[in-house]
C-alpha cells in the first residue's frame, strides 16, 4: 500500500470513528453528544477511570481506546441496557467499557466502508490512580465529546 493510500485509509477511519461515536451515543444510549474538538498527542496515554481498548490489524495497524469517568460509564451503560446505574455490577461496567470500544470500532469500520482491517477482542480497564501508556508508531488523535454527564474521549493511533 502506498503512502498516500495509507493516509487516505487513516483519514477514512478517523472520520468514521468520529461519526460512529456520535451515532452510537444517539441511537443506543439515547444521549446528546457534542463533538468538542480534537488534538494530536505524541503517545497513547490513558488516565481516565474507565478504558475500553481494541487493536486493529490487517491493511493498517493501530489501536483505538474509549475513556471516561466511571460515573459517565455507569450512565451510558444504564441507558443502553435499560437498568438504573445503581443496579450495574462491576462485571457490567467491565463488559460495558469493552463493548463501548467494540461497537465504536465496529461502527468506524462500517462508516469507513473498510473490510480489510481486523478488530481484536476488546480489553477493559476500570480503576483509579493509574497512567497507562503504549508505544505506538504514529501520533495519537484524541477526540473529545461533551455529554450532559461528562466528557467522553476517544483515542486513535493508526
Amino acid at each position: 500500500m502506498s503512502g498516500s493510500d495509507t493516509v487516505e485509509l487513516m483519514h477514512k477511519l478517523l472520520t468514521g470513528l468520529r461519526l460512529a461515536v456520535t451515532e452510537m451515543m444517539t441511537s443506543m444510549a439515547m444521549s446528546e453528544v457534542v463533538f468538542a474538538g480534537q488534538e494530536s498527542a505524541d503517545s497513547f496515554t490513558l488516565t481516565n477511570e474507565v478504558v475500553g481498548l481494541v487493536r486493529l490489524d490487517g491493511q493498517l495497524h493501530g489501536m483505538v481506546g474509549v475513556s471516561c469517568s466511571q460515573a459517565l460509564l455507569r450512565e451510558i451503560v444504564s441507558r443502553i441496557v435499560g437498568l438504573s446505574p445503581d443496579e450495574l455490577t462491576m462485571e457490567d461496567l467491565l463488559d460495558g467499557a469493552a463493548e463501548l470500544a467494540n461497537m465504536v470500532c465496529g461502527g468506524m469500520k462500517t462508516k469507513a466502508q473498510i473490510g480489510s482491517v481486523n478488530l481484536s477482542p476488546p480489553v477493559a480497564i476500570v480503576g483509579q490512580e493509574y497512567t497507562a501508556q503504549w508505544k505506538t508508531n504514529h501520533p495519537t488523535t484524541v477526540f473529545t465529546f461533551q455529554m450532559d454527564e461528562g466528557v467522553l474521549m476517544v483515542h486513535a493511533s493508526l
Binding site: I80, V81, D92, D95, K109, S116
Partner: protein, 124 residues
C-alpha cells in the same frame, strides 16, 4: 416464543434482549449463554427456541464453531435459525458463518429498528 442469546458479554446480552423487546416481538423467554459451549450445554436439555442470536468472538467455543455444532447436532436443534450479532462485518467471516449454517448477520451497533427488520422473518 423463546430466544437464546449466546454472547460472552453480559452487557451485550442485555442490550440484545432489550432490543428484541423494544422491537415489539412477542417473546416469552430469553435465555442466555456466555459462550458457544454453554449454549450447546443448554441446548442438550432445552431445545424449544424460535431463534438463536450468537456473537462471533467468544472464549472456549466461538460463534463459528457454535454454529457448526448446532448444525451437526440432534434433529431437535439442528434447524433452529441462527443469526450472528457481531462487529465483524468482513465478507470472509460473514461468508464463513453463512457457509457453516448461520441464517443471517447483524452488525453492532444496531438499533431496535434494525433488529425488527432483520429478525422479522424469523420471529413473525
Amino acid at each position: 416464543m423463546r430466544v437464546l442469546i449466546v454472547d460472552d458479554s453480559s452487557v451485550m446480552r442485555k442490550i440484545v434482549a432489550r432490543g428484541l423487546r423494544q422491537a415489539g416481538f412477542k417473546i416469552t423467554d430469553i435465555l442466555e449463554a456466555g459462550d458457544g459451549q454453554q449454549g450447546m450445554d443448554l441446548l442438550k436439555t432445552d431445545t424449544n427456541f424460535k431463534l438463536i442470536l450468537s456473537d462471533w468472538n467468544m472464549p472456549i467455543m466461538d460463534g463459528l464453531n457454535f454454529v457448526k455444532s448446532v448444525r451437526s447436532g440432534p434433529p431437535a436443534i439442528k434447524n433452529i435459525p441462527i443469526v450472528m450479532v457481531t462487529t465483524e462485518g468482513g465478507e470472509t467471516k460473514v461468508g464463513a458463518a453463512m457457509e457453516a449454517g448461520a441464517n443471517g448477520h447483524i452488525k453492532k451497533p444496531f438499533t431496535p429498528e434494525t433488529l425488527q427488520v432483520e429478525l422479522e422473518r424469523f420471529l413473525k
